[in-house]
Amino acid sequence: MNPTADSLRATFGDAIGRAAPARDGTTVVVVAAARLAEIMRWLKDTPGQRYDYLVDVTAVEYRDKERPLEVVYQLRALERRDNLRVKVELDPQGELAVDSVTSLWAGADWLEREVFDMFGVVFAGHPDLRRILMWETYAEGYPLRKDFPLRGRFSRAEQVRQALNLNPEANYSMEELSIAESFDELPADLRERLRRGERSKIPGSE
């Protein structure tokens, strides 16, 4: 059992739920959703903990309706070579919202977008929370939820129609383009459009 679990309980008290090693030996700690951001910051910044690498963010929904939906954070302390798995439990029938950890680990950006895309978990404070695997106008819901039918909600003809009417280029956001270091070298009109937050349109594609 990872000693971090006891330190967490000593520091945060009631905010820490059950803690036990999983079958692979990694310690799993369930924490309160309301204090997730605070706990994660403590795990990352406290000397002696220093979980500086966010391996993965994902979510699990179980078949039993009573079990909560879990958002899973897999952490690693690179220097100490130690792993920790932090879970947040959410009510699948209620509002699925949890704080974003992108301010701590920038790599959480796309991982949280994927969880949002597949499960509909809203990460408060995420800079650009959009669908990442399915297209942005996808209207059938969240595919990995247990109430989602395997073949989707629409008929195949409707799915084909919606897919064929997509404009593939329109789904790149200007925010993504602006990540490039070369922002200052872009043409003036493109920079202006980026500042306005406009979605990209290939000239003449309309």
């Binding site: 399915m134 297209w135 395997l150 084909v160 129609r161 897919a163």
Partner: protein, 205 residues
């Protein structure tokens, strides 16, 4: 044979001369087209690995006039869809098909491209024939290179049966209708029907 005997009797007529000329033109055009197909590989999955093997030296696509892989649709004759096609790629393959100049053909390589294969789920196109017209379906998961070569030879045979002067045999452009579909919705639903074990699943709406 009766047809041939009949035409022999009127071998002096202008219609006979015209038909002979048309056949000669068709023969020359079809031989040229069939024996210099330039493939546009649209490889999305493991079928693309078999396609690479087919193009490499042991199986050697170049023997059939496919020396040049056209990675630009503007310089391609035959679109080879090798692998599964998610809905997100549907507008992409349709645009690639639209960009190819006539005459053009499509080979659907493998179970996933032809029917959706084992991926009977929310994300996957159930057969690329709901998106683009397909000439040859190559079965297999993935097909062996011999299978793909056989499909290409079948396509050669098909091309050699085409005629510039026969509207039925000539392949015309097939644009999308006003709904943005290639086929009527009922037909797409029918093509996409589940098969095998997957019929036990249900749709919620």
């Amino acid at each position: 044979m009766k047809h041939v005997i009949d035409t022999k009797e009127i071998s002096g007529s202008p219609n006979f001369q015209l038909t002979r000329f048309q056949k000669l033109v068709d023969w020359a055009v079809n031989q040229s087209r069939a024996n210099s197909l330039w493939p546009m590989p649209f490889g999305t999955a493991c079928c693309a690995i078999e396609f690479m093997a087919t193009a490499a030296s042991r199986f050697d696509l170049a023997r059939f006039g496919m020396e040049r892989q056209a990675f630009s649709p503007r310089q391609a004759d035959v679109l080879i869809c090798a692998g599964r096609l998610p809905f997100k790629l549907a507008p992409v393959i349709r645009r690639i098909y639209d960009q190819m100049p006539q005459p053009k053909w499509v080979i659907s390589m493998g179970a996933c491209a032809s029917t959706g294969g084992i991926f009977d789920n929310y994300a996957m196109v159930q057969g690329i024939d709901t998106i683009v017209p397909v000439d040859v379906y190559v079965p297999g998961c993935p097909p062996r290179p011999e299978g793909l070569l056989y499909g290409i030879l079948l396509l050669h045979k098909k091309i050699k049966g085409e005629s510039l002067f026969d509207a039925v045999k000539r392949r015309d452009e097939q644009p999308l209708d006003e709904r943005g579909l290639r086929l009527p919705p009922a037909e797409i639903d029918e093509i996409s029907e589940p098969f095998g074990n997957s019929v036990h699943q249900f749709r919620s709406s």
